[in-house]
Structures are given as C-alpha cells and as structure tokens.
Subunit: 311 residues, 2 copies
C-alpha cells in the first residue's frame, strides 16, 4: 500500500487505523494493530479513567510503535481522561462527537497529534478550523453512532476531500483491501476500520457477539434511534422493540425507557444477543471467519493489490 | 478507462451507463450518452406506450451506437411495452423491480441482452438464475426507488461481485471519475449513473429541478416511505409532510393520501419544487454546474485518470 500524508503524520508503515471502539478496543487490539504497521487506538468510551490509564500502560509495554487513544468529547470525566493522556505520554488522540474546538488547541500545545471524526464536509471544515492534523470522514455504513445526514462513504469521502486541506481518513463500510483501494480512489489517504477489527481475536468483545456479527445476512444491521443520536446496530430482539416503538410514534421518553442503560456493554461485552445493543457496521456481512489482526493485514494487502490491477 | 466484460457485452467504448430515469431519460439523453461512447437508456417508466415507441424511433435516428430501454416489471401496460421493444428492434433491456424470471427468458429468446437492477446479493443470485447477462447493483445512495436493506454501494458492490459470475454494474453514489474508479476497485466492471445525467442539459427534467438539485447541501436528500417502497427524494415541503406523518405513526392509508398521484411528474418534469416528489441521489451534492453529456464524459475521464494515480 502507498505511503501518504497519513503514514507520515503518525509515523506508521501502513495507512490502516483501527477505530477506538467501545468494549472492543483495549490494549490487546491496539498494540496488535500497531505491531502490524498500522495505527491502533484504545477506545476510552467504555473505560473508567483508571481502566484507561491501565490500558495505555499495557499498550506501551506491548509495542514500541505509535498508538493512540479515541476520546469522545462527551466522555463524563473528560478532564480526568485528558490528564491521564497528557501524563502518560500518549502522542495521538482521535476525538469524536462534540465540538473539536473544545480540546484540540490544548492537546496540540502538549505536542499531541489530533484527529477529529466527522460525518459531513461542514463538520470537517469546523475541525480543520479548530486546528486538527487530519479528519476521519465516517459514512452511513459505520456501526454505532452515526451522522444525521446519512451520507454514505462513496459520497462523503470525496465531499470532505473537496473542502479540507488536511489529509482525510475514510471510515464506514471498509473492511477489505478492495474497499481500502476504493477509499484511496475517492481521495482518502488512510482508512479507519472498525467492524473487521471488532470481530477479530484480539478484540475484547464477547465470542457470542463476534459469532453473531460474522453470521449476519444482508440488511442485518439498521440505523435507528434517529431522534436521539443515530445508532447502527444488529436487528435483534432489542432493536425490534425500539423500531416498533418508533414506528407507532412513541414519545422520546418511552423510547429512552426502552433503551435504558448499559445496552452496549450487555450485548458486545457480556454477550447477550437478545437484549444487548449490538453496534456493528454494514460491512460485517463481508467478515466471515475467525481471524487475528495479522491475518487481517495480510488479507488487506492481497485484496488491495488485486483491486489495483482492476483499474 | 478500461474495457471490461460490460463494454464487450454491449459493444460500447466506455463502461458508463446512464440510468433510465423517469421524466429525465428520453431519446435526447439516451442518444447523447451513446454517441459519447457510453450506453444510453430510455426510461419507459414515465412514458405511455406510444411515447415509448416514439422515443425509441427518435433515438435510432440520432445514433447508430447501441442504446437500451429500462423497463419496470411493474409497468402497467407491460405486454404492450414488450411488443414495442420487440418490434422496434431494441437490442438491450434493463429490467427493474419485480421478479426477473417473468420476462428474462422471453427477451433473451428474441436475441435481446437483458440486465436486471438489484439491491442485494440475494436478488443478484435470483437474477442470475433467471438468465440475465449482467446485474446492476444499486446502493442506498441512489435517488428514487431503493432497496429495503439500505446497503450502501461500498458494501453492496463487493457483496454482489462475491456471489455472481455475470458482470456487475455498480450504481448509487456514482457521479465522478473518482467514484467510477472506486466502483472498479470494488469489483464492478461498469457503472450506471443516474443523478449526474438527470441534471445535465440533455435530460428532460425541468430547469427548476436541475437547479434545485445542483444547489443541494449535504443531507439534502433522504430515504423515506420505507413501508411502501423506499424512495430517496429532496427534503422539500412535500417530504416534510410525509416524514412528519411517518414520525407520528400515521396509518398507511393516511400516508398514501398525502403522497397521492403524479408527484414525480409534478416535481421533476413540471418543476413544482414545493409539492413535487424530487427523486435524486446523494451524489447530487457533488454536481455543481450546468453541463452537457459531453462535458460529463470528459470530466469523468480526467477524474478517473487522477484517481488511478492515487493508488
């Protein structure tokens, strides 16, 4: 795969970034991805601050390659998380949700490379104005929280590349070498992959979740909860209750009560396939076998080379 | 651009097909696309049988290159349309909606090349079993009628290529040379473009429609009417009424009454931007200027060449 401004920015060999996913992206996944020449991210969203510190320290002991932390700007103990990131010498932070102006300047002053995740060209411009080093443009196909405009990666990537000068990392619907090549054709200089890494051996997710997602048929996920945030999830029993309530015009309060708390942990981490919120991307239908991070990198290299020949 | 099984199948120079769109794809657009080396399709969906015959005859007089007709299997006077197609010597038919087994055999016996439009790998296999020569895999990004699974082109294209032996034409979210290159990287051997051709000079759509769609901001279209067929349209006043009714859990009958009849004609052809159903794809946000079919072909060639270099 070609080097790009993204490989240069992070000091990595391959422009493949593993998204920092709740209940999946611990030190094990992050260090494995970095050790394969990509960029591993620790997903702080599902961690208490002490757990985050622990994962950062373990990741440092497992790799001497660059790795980073994903930090939602809605993280409840944001100030504490920032202190941990600064004191532990993390060099790369991907922020998501919220206003990038909130934290970018402070992190940059501390010498940290900052990337913000966006779902539109409008938000990409806002992130660029806040001083980020790159943006992740995440399309409609992605699992979990998603943008309101529902712009898919095929349209979002060139739209974002068209307006910003910083390098663009494409995300959403990318799990194979052919899709990486497509993202590069669209103008991206790197890709962030969530789904495929969420389902591999080094992911902290439960086996039940991995197996269920690898067996998904087409249309097996759907974007829902559109009024309260937009989440793509597996169409299981929990989803059916939510979708049924929305269909009959239920109030926001009623829907909030159905959703309740800790649904993602229940599903992804604890393996309740009926009642958990199983956040995963559309491209799960292309992930079929149990595999390691090293298997994924080898397969992507081969798929990318084959795709290049098709042009 | 590379030749492929698709250019061979149709006897065309460039693997670019203009979708047969209601109220846009008359003889003028179809012949212009064919004369540029692509494949033009007449969109029969908005034509009475006599109008269809007239457009076929005019198209024949305007080009000696291959062209085709798009025929919805839900066309009310299907038998009459088939007779016109057979008697006028049309050599290529793209069928959409409905069961491809219904007509494929009969058209093939008459020496016609048959392609069916699908929105999933499952339907692609069904079309292949019915004997089609190729499939169009149309993703979530596409304007107008759309599949239930909401699979976007980035995932749909490789999913379909993975299961069928016939060549695959990618559609949905494709309007630039970079997107054509991405579709090829994903395994497609041709592309069907709707939106960009719908908005060009040779399209039969009203100027008001073309201008409105070229000025769309991100998120300016949305997929709605999910229970009764799934249609992507511009978020205008008509859309807002439909979406509001769905949100409050209105009955199918009430929604049908709001939609009424002839909304697509009212909007696309007659130019009522408030009350018309303005069917257009997500990629309209990338179409910014008034242009001819020849302009589009030149721009796609340049964009494709630039995209190849990025790999």
């Amino acid at each position: 795969m070609k080097t790009s401004r993204i490989t240069e920015l992070f000091g990595i060999e391959k422009p493949i970034i593993a998204g920092g996913m709740v209940w999946c992206s611990g030190h094990r996944l992050a260090s494995a991805v970095s050790n394969c020449g990509g960029l591993g991210l620790i997903g702080s969203g599902s961690m208490h601050p002490d757990t985050l510190r622990d994962h950062i320290e373990k990741c440092k002991s497992e790799t001497d390659k660059p790795f980073g932390v994903n930090l939602s700007l809605f993280y409840p103990q944001l100030e504490e998380a920032v202190r941990i990131i600064l004191s532990s010498g993390v060099k790369i932070v991907f922020t998501s949700a919220g206003n990038p102006a909130m934290l970018t300047g402070r992190l940059k002053e501390a010498g940290i490379t900052v990337v913000h995740v966006v779902s539109s060209a409008k938000f990409a411009l806002k992130a660029e104005a806040a001083g980020v080093d790159a943006v992740v443009a995440e399309g409609f196909e992605a699992g979990g929280h998603n943008g309101r405009d529902e712009t898919a990666t095929m349209v979002l990537t060139p739209s974002v590349c068209h307006v910003v000068k910083v390098p663009v990392i494409a995300a959403g619907g990318i799990s194979t070498g052919a899709q990486v090549a497509a993202a590069f054709a669209l103008g991206a200089e790197g890709v962030q992959m969530g789904t495929r890494f969420a389902l591999c051996d080094e992911s902290s997710a439960s086996e039940a979740f991995k197996q269920r997602c690898r067996a998904l048929a087409e249309g097996g996920t759907m974007l829902t909860l559109k009024r309260s945030g937009n989440v793509r999830m597996v169409k299981n029993e929990f989803y059916a209750r939510v979708a049924g309530a929305i269909d009959r015009g239920a109030s926001e309060d009623e829907i909030k009560e159905i959703v309740g708390q800790r649904r993602a942990k229940l599903g992804i981490f604890e393996g309740d396939m009926q009642e958990g919120m199983l956040e995963i991307g559309q491209t799960a239908t292309l992930v079929e076998r149990k595999e390691s991070v090293a298997d994924i990198f080898a397969d992507i290299e081969a798929g990318y080379a084959a795709a290049r020949l098709r042009l």
